[in-house]
């Protein structure tokens, strides 16, 4: 394999997709899958699948394919999903915050929502179903420590970002998933991923625009 390169972000995202599909196959009792079948089912190119997995060592046997269980377990380890990652939502009282707090897909994949924060005085102290009470943002450092929270999901409006930023960065969490419409930059101690829901729509608009000008659109392998 020669020198090991760091895998691109798109490869890491595809690992999640492979994992979900392999979990399904394992549930159905399938033992082995070829890179060709894996690619076809997920709308990808077999060479891309092999290249993605090759970043992490040798898998599968030529002409035989991948062991579903082994590949799944390996991806779980690569992504660090063998243990529960504790998550908190900042802006939990807003619509998107509540939707994400209640989203059952996270817990199925080993992310557990362990604390809820908001700065709206009318919401502090109220409870969100089985998830418990909403705390003021000032309690972030205390609860992050007590509950060993590693990841914050930030869903505050743009105007509130400045207000909560210092508290978030100093809270002791190691990663932030930022949905606020305000790009945050990673620091040495806190890794930030920014999610902008409008970007996805703009990207679709770009492809519609190509179609309108008669340029055939190739579905990209990004998902």
């Amino acid at each position: 394999m020669g020198t090991k390169l760091a895998p691109p972000q798109a490869t890491i995202k595809r690992l999640s997709i492979y994992l979900r599909y392999l979990n399904g196959l394992d549930g159905d009792g399938v033992k082995v899958i070829s890179s060709h079948d894996l690619a076809r089912k997920l709308g990808l190119n077999p060479a891309q699948v092999r290249k993605d997995l090759a970043y992490f060592g040798e898998f599968g046997k030529r002409g035989v394919g991948y062991s579903v269980k082994k590949l799944r377990d390996h991806i779980v380890k690569i992504l660090g999903l063998q243990k529960i990652r504790k998550v908190a939502i900042v802006g939990a009282g807003g619509r998107l915050g509540t939707a994400l707090a209640m989203y059952t897909g996270f817990e199925k994949r080993n992310f557990k929502v362990c604390a809820l924060f908001d700065n709206d005085p009318a919401l502090i102290g109220t409870t969100l179903e089985h998830l418990g009470q909403i705390s003021p943002v000032s309690e972030l450092p205390k609860l992050v420590k007590e509950r060993e929270i590693e990841i914050l999901i930030l869903t505050v409006p743009a105007r509130a970002v400045k207000e909560v930023y210092d508290m978030v960065m100093l809270s002791g969490v190691r990663a932030v998933l930022n949905f606020a419409p305000f790009k945050l930059i990673s620091t040495e101690n806190v890794l930030v991923h920014n999610v902008d829901l409008t970007t996805e729509l703009e990207s679709l608009s770009y492809h519609l625009c190509l179609q309108e000008s008669g340029i055939p659109v190739e579905p990209d392998d990004e998902t």
Copy 2:
């Protein structure tokens, strides 16, 4: 520039980010920006910024920089955002569907929510604030045509995807942004982008895992 290559998806997504930042600069009366400053403000590499923009022709003057207004207008055209794109939400009665329907960020960027769909009999006919009535999914083809809807945002639970899939694909829309935890593949007529919110968390988990094993994490340029 030699042969023109199709820009990667990551470049298209960064165009959205440039656009947002340029809009802010224009609002502040800034006339010119260098690729270096643009990159620094957005946590990117100047070479990456120049490469992204070079896919779409020559911009800026060496040693002078980009005209904020011209670059912004050009990106608006590239992304096809000079006209309003009409959007509908399928699964508008669910928490995520409602959160997205009410998200004011879309309309600010020229995406207008023009119809709401759900299959829950208790919700059909109810209204969602100023956005109007929720219609049954069976009315998709009719309303897509009447209201000239181009993009559907799909936020139904996994179990409901099969039920609505045919109706979505035959509805006449040209693009789908799929939040359902079930990967949909683009067809010749319908371009699908899948958004999986857990993928973002898994990608953060991967980086946490690297940190835990003592490997320094370089912030990637994906946002």
